[in-house]
């Protein structure tokens, strides 16, 4: 697919293949992610979309037997280059998981500050500022500003997920990866997160994996359809959903399988 000429390219995969041992679960995938866009990755369960996402911030290699071939370019530089420290890379590419994962021993404030503290930021006032900004971006500030010292577990599921988004945003990453972020949320919580995607793409480049095609249609600019580890089709969301080029894409989005 060709991104608009004025859009700066942020992230790109070139013939990316992800394997567990000798079994390839993502095969030969090349996608462009323009800056300040939301790209949805859709497909049936087990099609490799989560694994694909986890290759982008080098989380896949932490799984037992996980390794990749091909390249992932962040601003033109291969993140799999030997000189790249995966720990540093993950500070540039934030990630939010399917289920909320607040750190149970930490307060709301400490959860948001965790990514900064690990990066060596200690200044009290600077931290306060970043925490407030991240919570505001995640649309959670008003709900928690009076109880920042309370345990993160005191929050509802939807709030916990927004807390995790705030935690991922606080270190100011360049790219935000969302792995089915609304899978465990109710409709109201889902709506909040989807609205957030629209807000956040002004600052970040977002890749969201989702099961839900309506969600992909609502939040994304581009959509990539995966099927058994292969990228079947990628294009502008409105085009892909109205005029899919591939037979399999049409079959999936019209609900004939998956």
């Amino acid at each position: 697919m060709a991104p608009p000429a004025d859009a700066r390219l942020r992230l790109e995969t070139v013939r990316l293949t992800a394997l567990y041992g000798r079994r390839a679960v993502v095969k030969d995938v090349s996608i462009l992610f323009p800056a300040h866009t939301v790209t949805a990755v859709i497909g049936p369960s087990g099609c490799g979309k989560s694994t694909f996402l986890r290759c982008l911030n080098r989380m896949h290699e932490l799984s037992e037997g996980g390794w990749v071939t091909g390249r992932v370019l962040l601003d033109g530089a291969d993140v799999y280059d030997d000189a790249v420290d995966p720990v540093q890379l993950r500070r540039r590419i934030g990630m939010v998981f399917q289920r909320p994962t607040p750190f149970p021993t930490m307060s709301i404030y400490d959860n948001v500050a965790a990514g900064l503290r690990v990066n060596g930021h200690r200044g009290r006032r600077a931290l306060d500022e970043v925490v407030e900004r991240a919570l505001t971006q995640a649309a959670l500030w008003d709900e928690v500003k009076d109880r920042l010292r309370a345990s993160a577990l005191a929050l509802s599921g939807g709030q916990q997920q927004r807390l995790c988004i705030a935690r991922a945003l606080a270190p100011q990453p360049e790219v935000l990866l969302l792995d089915e972020p609304t899978a465990s949320l109710d409709p109201a919580g889902t709506q909040r997160i989807e609205e957030l995607c629209h807000e956040l793409k002004r600052v970040y480049t977002i890749v969201i994996v989702t099961h839900n095609m309506q969600q992909a249609a609502r939040v994304s600019d581009y959509t990539a359809f995966f099927y058994v580890g292969e990228l079947v089709e990628v294009g502008r969301t409105d085009e892909l959903f109205t005029r899919p080029a591939e037979e399999r894409t049409e079959a999936y989005i019209t609900g004939r399988f998956g």
Binding site: N57, F97, G115, L153, A168
Partner: protein
């Protein structure tokens, strides 16, 4: 009611009755022990018992202050040596112990866990008492620590493994290095469980007698020097209970009661720590 349904009801009733009786038997042992200890020991508990040292055989009065302090010192020192090693080993096993080395460490810990404590005592005697030409509280502490390490290591490993994998991933995705994930996130989350394991481990060694026979030896006088032989409650109980004097038997019962209370206290504290954790998880 059909015959089949009736049979089910009867079987269910019988089994429920059976497990109730078995549970009662299990609890009965503890109740009898505690009851007996209180009946025979409580009357001897007085200020002197806690503050005075043993008096020469045949005389009445005196206490077991030396043994109480000795147990405190030896067990405390054993905990000081054993807890860091045990917790560190457990953390290693849970977080990095998937390879061959982990397998070996785990196997050795399991074997050590099943080693009779008297063997540990002989071992400590061979390596510490004999070369240094003298029984000492320190040797006793080392023996108890050796007994405690595999126990603590395995419970710590279990507790750390209970921490959801997703939490680990969340920290790593945030740019935490592996070691900081282990310490700041995983170990902190498992902390209540680890502390509980440690308390149970300490309670378990507090009542040990066999490893101390060849190491701390026992001492009728009050001492706080860890390079000297030192008295402990279990050892004191052993000596007094096997002695010929009525007065000694009385003191043995009282000492047993104090020791039991100490172990129960640790157990209850452990329970309380678990409750705190589950309370926080809600």
């Amino acid at each position: 009611m059909s015959a089949r349904s009736l049979r089910r009801h009867v079987t269910s009733g019988l089994m429920t009755g059976l497990v109730a009786v078995l549970s009662f038997t299990a609890v009965l042992a503890l109740v009898l022990i505690l009851g007996d200890l209180i009946a025979k020991g409580a009357s001897s508990l007085n200020w002197d018992f806690f503050t005075k040292n043993p008096v020469p055989a045949g005389q009445s009065g005196g206490g077991v202050a030396n043994a109480i302090v000795g147990t405190g010192i030896i067990v405390g020192l054993a905990a000081l040596i054993g807890l860091p090693v045990g917790v560190g080993t457990g953390l290693y096993l849970a977080e990095y112990g998937s390879g061959r080395l982990g397998w070996i460490v785990r196997f050795v810990a399991d074997v050590l866990n099943g080693t009779p404590s008297i063997v540990i005592g002989i071992f400590a005697w061979t390596w510490l008492v004999r070369p240094l030409h003298g029984y000492s509280a320190l040797a006793g502490s080392v023996a108890l620590a050796a007994l405690m390490v595999p126990m603590i290591a395995r419970t710590t490993e279990e507790m750390v493994r209970l921490v959801p994998h997703s939490l680990r991933e969340a920290a790593l995705a945030l740019g935490y290095p592996r070691w900081r994930t282990s310490l700041r996130i995983v170990a902190r989350t498992a902390l209540a469980g680890i502390v509980t394991g440690c308390l149970v481990g300490v309670a378990r060694i507090a009542g040990e007698t066999a490893p101390l026979l060849f190491t701390a030896l026992g001492n009728l006088n009050f001492t706080t020097s860890v390079t000297q032989p030192m008295q402990t409650l279990p050892h004191q109980i052993y000596e007094y209970a096997t002695g010929p004097f009525e007065e000694w038997h009385r003191l043995a019962w009282a000492s047993a009661l104090v020791l039991m209370a100490l172990v129960l206290l640790l157990g209850v504290t452990a329970r309380w720590a678990i409750r705190q954790r589950h309370g926080a998880a809600r």
